[in-house]
Amino acid sequence: MKTNQLTGTLLLVLLIASQVRLIHATEEPLTITVGSKSFTESVILGDMLVYLAQQAGIEANHQKQLGGTRVLWNALLGGEIDAYPEYTGTLLQETLVRENLQTEAQLRQALASRGLRMTRPLGFNNTYAIGMKEALAEQLKLRRISELRNHPGLVLGFGNEFMDRADGWPGLQQHYQLPHQNVRGLDHDLAYRGIESGTLQVTDLYVTDAEIAYYNLRALEDDLQYFPVYEAVILYRADLDQRAPEVVALFKRLAGRIDAPTMRKLNARVKLQGETEAAVAASFLEKNLKLDVNLRVKTSWQRFWRHTREHLLLVGISLGMAILVAIPLGILAARHARIGHIVLGIAGIVQTIPSLALFVFLIPLLGIGGPPAVVALFLYSLLPIIRNTHAGLRDIPPAIIESAQALGLPSHARLRIVELPLATRSILAGIKTSAVINVGTATLAALIGAGGYGQPILTGIRLDDIGLILQGAVPAAVLALLVQGVFELTERRLLPRGLR
């Protein structure tokens, strides 16, 4: 009976989560969705793809700055997105590395077998480079990567992707036999700030990064030819050729049109001159492809409301469901010690899964966007409520429970009339804890395309724009306080007068 209720509730959660997905990305036949990685160049290219689709009269959404190649690749395979900008080196060395592909023809064949295609190269090779401050490089007389071997004391800091990828640091270290011990992983954009402040001395660069010139960095020569070629291409689903051939034709017009200096300039206009990605993408298309792009600028208020709506939806659904599921679980745990151990154990384990990892685990099941985010937030919200319900019920003095039993009240009436009211304060404390964690964790949901206040925070980190970070962080903090306030009021209403 209880397990049935539980499965029922879980199904309900999934059902509602799937509704969110419909609200989020309306999957009508003539809408396509473009994805981009969480760095500026990818977002600019993604915006170009959106404008190109609109040129063909087709509505296009942009799932901006998703958290990592794996997320985009899976989303493309799953049909969550239709296209995204990718690099051949990433496909050969990382995504499809097990297939040991050598030529472009082999790559195209491997993609085709998965229902994917790619355009011809766009015209720039955005390979990795290893860079350091020009002045320091001069002082240490460093020109080549192999010369780093003579300076094992340098502090190395690499973007998280580079740190973990087979074609990143592990391979580089082996190839050049680098002895460095002090190596850390951090956000790619933060690495530049680390270099600037002197806490890091060496980092990975993307060759087209605007920061290379801005921070006056020297790219060390890859003298042992370690880094492969990273030709930028547009990766898209093969079925797009049938659904919207005119869009694919327009995508193909980008091939060969963007060389490395051009891309570096476009990046610089966003990162250094503060233009929006959309404006930069639009002006490029107007100038180079002679397209008349309809640049729709959203006001910051519109963006704010959208993020607020998304955030509230994520928090509201996940927390609401968590309350409905966790309180009965807490009661069950309090009444049956053995089940209690199991329930609290599982909820505890769920809590220890890093949030981004949990989001990514759920993508194969639920796609990107709202549904996996809601489910992950739901899971994270369970433990504090279960634990506090359990503790609140177990802390009731035995004399009270026995008195209720001796009156002849049956079990369910005891729960309703005596035990739950006495545990109210503890249960609400658990809900408040969950709510605050939930509002905070929901900012990470932007990494898997669920939007919310995490979106301006991500963009702000990427563009080194404190104002933009605050546009997400401040409302998130205010929302956390508001939600807590709402439950304080609820507590005043719900808490029996005798307990105040």
Binding site: A399, Q405, A406, L407, G408, A413, I417, L422, P496, G498
Partner: protein, 250 residues
Amino acid sequence: MLILSRVSKHYNNTFALASTDLQVPAGETLVLIGPSGCGKSTLLRLIVGLIQPNTGSITLEGTKLTPANLLQTRQRMGYVIQEGGIFPHLSVRDNVTVMARYLRRNCDWIANRLAELAQLVRLPHELMNRFPAELSGGQRQRVSLMRALMLDPELLLLDEPLGALDPMIRYELQQELKSIFVQLGKTVVMVTHDIAEAAFFGHTLALMRDGRIVQTGSFKDLAQTPAEPFVEQFINAQRVPMEQLTKALG
């Protein structure tokens, strides 16, 4: 009439209550007395069904108590414990009437019964809206007694009902409680460790030690013909200090 027949209770290998036979005639008061851990509370908790006996049976006015009729038979018993066990989140009124309201008794009947009981235990009517935290210890025990009496039970079970009160209030409540028992003519089983209180209330006393009843009878029987030396020791332990006090005054 409450009849216990060969009732025993053990936890793992230790007996909390050895096989016990006991009869309390209707309208009489039996006081269970003995040192801490002697099994007197266990006996009371067995009667109200908070724990189940390993052997034997308990019969109340011809009804054998079983797990199946537990909830019904509890409505025929009133149970008062030392700290009162009254619900801190409910007002006095709600504490007293909680079971009657759960059983959907008539509102007027409930209101009348509440007023009647308040008068019986001498609790002013304006206290009915207070919460337990706003009451004194003595008032809380009166509320607990009201709650126990609400459904007019045949049997009243009291586990050290006055144990947590200071001596003055305790004395006052003893007098009132006895007059209430006399007025209502209920069958009462009371647990105490105070021999004077036992003598004051009990038609019959059952002195317990290590999970069994050592002697049953009136206070006089116990004092004049103790069944074993322990009975004498137990009575003297509380009588001698009193006699010393009297001597000092004399």
